[in-house]
């Protein structure tokens, strides 16, 4: 079977999305999708086309046990009832589940969740894509007043958007650290609030924003990457 054939891939994607494909063929097509971006794109287009068909399906309220089961499976039963944030959860309920979940993210270089570090230490992080390597590398100056960001050639070119960098301070809202370069190296000067946010953050993130950056001061677009911050003493 010639899978490079776009038309054939499109027909397979249609059968996959509609659900008429037999189980074994379905699994086979899913494997193709993991390596074939044309197949993935075709599936997305069919999902979008067909989505309206379920719009009128009658909504059903789940029983309370369903959410309780989800909380239990993800290991955060009780966490969402507390005033504490996700970071408290991460620190107090570090578990195999959480570890597995985080592994699914773009992980940076190391984890220092349990011990807030002084800001003076140099901080480094890398945003990377599974099996593709680093996209951006971020390090702070020893004084902690600037970030030096290097874009690798894996940054996806996008003239219509900005890539915005955020500190994710524990227990607080994301704080913008500036716009990331799409190529080359850029230096981002940090003000006091940004330094404090970064000092209290164990993670940083990249979101996709309109040109000029987030208009609201909070991430408005999808989060593309999350990386752990490693502090070097």
């Amino acid at each position: 079977m010639k899978y490079a054939d776009r038309e054939l891939l499109d027909q397979l994607a249609a059968a996959y999305v509609v659900g008429s494909m037999p189980g074994r063929t379905r699994k086979r097509f899913e494997r193709i999708c993991t390596t074939n971006p044309i197949a993935r794109a075709a599936v997305k287009r069919w999902e979008d086309r067909m989505h309206g068909l379920v719009a009128n399906v009658k909504a059903e309220q789940p029983s309370p046990q369903v959410w309780a089961g989800i909380e239990k499976r993800l290991g955060f039963a009780g966490a969402t009832k507390e005033s504490g944030s996700m970071w408290i959860w991460l620190r107090s309920r570090w578990s195999a589940t959480a570890l597995a979940a985080l592994t699914a993210l773009a992980i940076g270089v190391g984890v220092y969740l349990n011990q807030p570090q002084p800001l003076a230490a140099q901080q480094i992080a890398a945003f990377n894509a599974p099996q593709r390597g680093d996209i951006w590398r971020v390090r702070s100056t020893k004084q902690g007043d600037k970030l030096v960001v290097e874009a690798t050639n894996r940054v996806m070119p996008d003239d219509q958007h900005e890539y915005e960098l955020w500190a994710l301070p524990e227990g607080g809202a994301p704080v913008s650290l500036g716009l990331l370069p799409k190529n080359g190296v850029a230096t981002l000067a940090l003000n006091g609030a940004q330094r404090a946010a970064l000092g209290g953050a164990s993670k940083i993130a990249v979101s996709l924003e309109p040109l000029g950056g987030s208009p609201t001061g909070a991430p408005t677009g999808p989060v593309l990457h999350v990386a752990e911050v490693t502090r070097l003493s």
């Binding site: 027909q11 659900g19 999902e47 309206g52 379920v54 059903e60 989800i70 993800l74 999808p222």
Partner: protein
């Protein structure tokens, strides 16, 4: 949650759903809780339609939310289409369960007339609010009744070709042809 995203789509929530997915990628468990509150009734409705049995559908809903939490960082999967992505995760889970576990079909759980009444073309007209849905609505209307019914039985109700063949009382080859040609026409129409 992020109040700056207010793009309205078919659920009226899509911008908010995307923002919540973004927060899930940041491992914010409250965001998952909020996402669940907003979307679980619709997702359970979809799952129930496919899986028929409430206990199985609720179990699948748990699988779906766990999967969403684990995959929320795959932004490309839902950029601009939060609810469509969630529905696809739910449908894929349900279809996997159907294809792997169903040994025999209980057609009596879903009488043909009920399916036809419940998911037919007329209902779609009531809430066609966005461009894609309007196009789908219009283009479904251009299909033959058989094509439209077979596609709906597969997509909404999760029936395989073989099951649809038994349900509508037409030969398997005919059903396959209706689905394939219907989808080809649908695509052509929606791209025009």
């Amino acid at each position: 949650m992020n109040a700056s995203l207010q793009m309205k789509t078919d659920t009226g929530e899509d911008g908010q759903i995307e923002a919540l997915l973004g927060r899930c990628a940041l491992r914010d468990s409250k965001a998952l809780s909020e996402l669940y509150r907003l979307t679980s009734p619709q997702l359970l409705g979809v799952l129930l339609k496919l899986l028929r049995r409430r206990a199985l559908a609720e179990e699948a809903l748990q699988d779906v939310m766990v999967r969403v939490w684990q995959r929320a960082s795959q932004f490309e999967a839902y950029r601009g289409r939060g609810m469509a992505w969630l529905v696809s995760v739910a449908r894929n889970r349900a279809i996997d369960l159907l294809r792997s576990q169903r040994t025999h079909l209980s057609l009596e759980d879903s009488p043909a007339h009920e399916i036809a009444d419940d998911s037919g073309h007329d209902n779609l007209e009531m809430s066609a609010t966005d461009k894609m849905r309007s196009a789908l609505d219009r283009c479904l209307g251009g299909l033959s009744t058989e094509q439209r019914q077979c596609i709906t039985l597969a997509y909404v109700n999760g029936f395989s070709h073989d099951e649809i063949s038994r349900l509508v009382g037409s030969p398997l080859g005919t059903v396959k042809s209706w689905v394939r040609r219907g989808l080809t026409s649908l695509k052509r129409c929606m791209e025009s």
